[in-house]
């Protein structure tokens, strides 16, 4: 199929037919905020931060899962979208216990940096303050459900890149929880290869290396794309 031509924020953009609004925008130098999306993994469309306006239709579309079409007219940062994005981040902050000041990922957290990039000054929703466990049964890594935003990057990394599918999601809605194997302590998992891809993919301090203290958990979130490029194109690009 031929090249697609569309308009993103008033800019004429050419894209490959397999492009999404997100990838076409990125190529055109237009930044759309994302949290669940990660290069190297399949798109999930769960966090809703990348919602954009398309043409005159009132329904918003997630940029990460919406394919480009000829003559599309996309707006990525209207006041309405910016307001919704702030609301999404505030709701994520209210849903679990994100205490940045004492978090292993303080200063290296995508939820934290997204909040300030979007201008979230405070959370106007009531904090739910759920009581959630921290699983430190694994030899190398820990899982702190207080910091988890259910982006499922870890689940996808484990399944699609490592091929182990140790991690998955249990439950519904606000009660959803990342689980190892059949909801057992991570350290008891027989499928986990301890590869640590999930830890590198995690946007927050929910997955961390054992022994990390406040602000020590730096992650390499480009690792998965590096692996995919190496496997598919035999190119070891650093």
């Amino acid at each position: 199929m031929a090249t697609q031509t569309l308009t993103i924020d008033g800019k004429l953009v050419t894209a490959r037919p397999e492009d999404t609004i997100l990838s076409a925008s990125k190529d055109a130098g237009i930044d759309i905020p994302t949290l669940c999306y990660l290069d190297g993994l399949s798109a999930h469309g769960g966090c809703r931060l990348c919602m954009v306006e398309v043409g005159s239709q009132n329904r918003l579309l997630p940029a990460c899962t919406t394919p480009v079409r000829e003559d599309m007219n996309v707006s990525t940062s209207t006041p309405r979208l910016v307001e919704y994005r702030r609301m999404i981040v505030a709701l994520l902050l209210a849903e679990r216990n994100h205490v940045c000041s004492v978090c292993v990922a303080n200063g290296h957290c995508e939820l934290q940096s997204m909040a300030y990039a979007l201008g979230v000054t405070h959370v106007r929703f009531e904090y739910l303050s759920p009581e959630l466990p921290v699983d430190v049964s694994h030899d190398r890594y820990g899982m702190d459900h207080n910091r988890c935003i259910l982006c499922t990057r870890c689940v996808r990394a484990c399944d699609q890149i490592e091929g182990a599918h140790t991690l998955d999601v249990m439950g519904r809605g606000v009660n959803s929880r990342i689980v190892a194997d059949m909801n057992q302590p991570w350290g008891d998992s027989v499928t986990c290869t301890s590869c640590g891809k999930c830890v590198q993919a995690c946007p927050t301090g929910a997955l961390f290396r054992q022994g990390s203290t406040v602000a020590e958990m730096e992650k390499d979130r480009t690792m998965l794309q590096f692996l995919v490029t190496a496997r598919e194109k035999k190119q070891w690009l650093v």
């Binding site: 216990n97 909040a115 405070h122 759920p130």
Partner: protein, 180 residues
């Protein structure tokens, strides 16, 4: 222009935000030229004064005293600023909220984890009763501006104060809004 009447107060927090306030170093001398500090934990003032222009509130709302103090602050301040993460988000002070109400928190702290003489402190009129849960300041009173940070860096506090003294809207952007 009249000198700014500035107050600061300290609720459920560690006083780290006030230490960061002192970290403004020699600018404090400039501040003293431009503003009257009419109430603050740095001075021994018993009663919250009237006609305050700006009050910086450190800490989350955790007990009855905090609540009474906040009512005074709001009633007598033109502008209220949530000062630091505990005031803005609840932060460490609010980490007791997942335990539920006040009673399990007291039991956990003073009975279950006590090594000697386990008892829940209860001195009417001396020890203020804990609220059932900890709140950020804006859940209790109207807040005009927010200074995040644990603690907020001195430059961030100074920027906000400079803007307020100049009669402008203080606006923090980008990483100046970082929690933690």
């Amino acid at each position: 222009m009249a000198r700014l009447r500035l107050a600061t107060t300290w609720l459920g927090g560690c006083s780290g935000c006030h230490m960061s306030f002192l970290d403004m170093d020699e600018w404090l001398i400039d501040l003293a030229r431009m503003a009257d500090i009419v109430y603050t934990p740095f001075q021994d003032v018993k009663k919250f004064p009237e006609n305050v222009d700006v009050t910086l509130v450190e800490g989350a709302v955790a007990n009855r005293d905090h609540l009474e103090q906040l009512e005074q602050v709001r009633a007598h301040s033109r502008l209220v600023v949530s000062f630091g993460d505990c005031a803005v988000t609840g932060n460490v002070t609010a980490m007791r909220n997942p335990l539920g109400k006040a009673e399990p928190v007291l039991r956990r702290s003073y009975i279950e984890l006590a090594t000697v003489n386990p008892q829940i402190p209860d001195e009417a009129g001396i020890v203020p009763a804990l609220l059932e849960r900890v709140y950020p300041v804006h859940e209790m009173i109207r807040v005009d501006y927010y200074i995040p940070g644990c603690p907020p860096p001195a430059d961030r506090i100074r920027h906000v104060l400079e803007e307020l003294i100049a009669g402008r809207e203080p606006k923090l952007e980008g990483a100046e809004l970082k929690f933690g």
